[in-house]
Symmetry: C2
């Protein structure tokens, strides 16, 4: 593992201030002893649909996709997850196995904490549990809201929405390299690959964006916003 990224202890981890802010020092030490830190290259699968859930995980840095795999290769991407998105909360407390596959789409690092240890800490620390409840609730709000927004839009509106999502929520820049393929864009916003490509070309012709391979640069943000909102 790349040593420059490795953190010596949970006590110095920047995440402590978020997820584990209310945690007692004693419990933080227990987590520190149990935790496993792993790095993932883009494309590598972190957990696979059907695998037993045995640890609680959270993303230190990087970007992930959460997807459902289907027999007919027409997968569905549920959500794109950043650090602080608490992806580890998805079904970790209610299911014995993962219902989703999680894959890195950028260089990422995750911490894995033994699930029984987490449960034990929760049982003995209601304050911590309450913050987890809050985080889980808010994560689900976000995912549902995104779905609702996307599903009521027409195809042009969906493409505009997703371009703005990566620009505003992920990279905070008007120019970025989109971390997923055209096919994956289609799986994320519920349309066909061909139409993703078609509408991206359309936007280029209309001088709304510049696009070359995975590079996207937003030229006319106002127009993009209008398409996203009224499409």
């Amino acid at each position: 593992m790349n040593e420059e990224h490795k953190i010596p202890s949970c006590t110095t981890c920047s995440f402590k201030s978020f997820l584990f802010s209310n945690l007692k020092p004693k419990d933080l030490l227990r987590i520190n002893l149990s935790r496993q830190e792993k790095e993932f290259k883009p494309g590598s699968v972190i957990v696979k649909q059907g695998e037993k859930i045995s640890s609680f995980m959270y993303l230190r840095y990087g970007l992930l996709k959460i997807s459902i795999e289907r027999e007919d290769r027409r997968n569905q991407i549920i959500s794109i997850a950043r650090p602080l998105d608490f992806i580890g909360l998805l079904s970790v407390f209610s299911e014995p196995v993962y219902n989703y596959t999680v894959t890195a789409i950028e260089d990422s690092a995750l911490c894995f904490i033994d699930l029984d240890l987490m449960k034990d800490i929760i049982r003995n620390d209601g304050k911590f549990a309450l913050t987890l409840l809050k985080d889980m609730s808010s994560m689900n709000e976000t995912i549902m809201h995104n779905w609702l927004m996307i599903n009521r839009k027409n195809l042009r509106g969906r493409i505009a929405y997703i371009i703005l999502f990566f620009s505003d929520d992920i990279y905070k820049k008007d120019e970025y390299s989109i971390p997923i393929s055209r096919k994956e864009i289609a799986e994320l916003i519920n349309m066909r690959t061909e139409n993703v490509i078609r509408i991206l070309s359309e936007f280029r012709k209309d001088k709304i964006i510049e696009i070359e391979g995975k590079m996207i640069r937003i030229i006319n943000k106002g127009k993009l916003l209008r398409i996203a909102n009224f499409g």
Copy 2:
């Protein structure tokens, strides 16, 4: 309030064994003192989008719809909730106001518990918090799973799915009175009212169902299942 339905105390409430199974007797008493029990007729609004969240609620009996209201009168129904669906968990810990409107669609009764009291109990009882985490997680799994199933189906598949949903999950009978209007069916499975009606008539002509007003009787369940699965 109809006295025959009223429960004298949380300790005798049948829900205690589910939601509050791990609760300390002391805390159950506190809840009992604070709780408010209310009945609702079909059509009456229980909480409205935008209202401040000040209590934790759960459904004792009845049936609810959770929906998002929009300016243009094209609402979206998120989910149909039965007792034990823990609808009170939806955004109660992460949002200051309700993002959803909850409406009774059958005679229903709910208990309201002061939210600060609930939080206080959670903070002091990690075991209870863990069961809440589990319930919230499982409720969200259910809602998401339903959305995924519905969204990948064509219109005939969606109608078949929803007929089977009420038959298998809600009423456990092949004949029932559907508690929502054609328009609401459309809002629940993301299609137009006209097409709901059209496809229901089609199913009747094909002798898959009998239908008269709100009464629905499933005649050919095998065929309905095939339409739901392959549609």
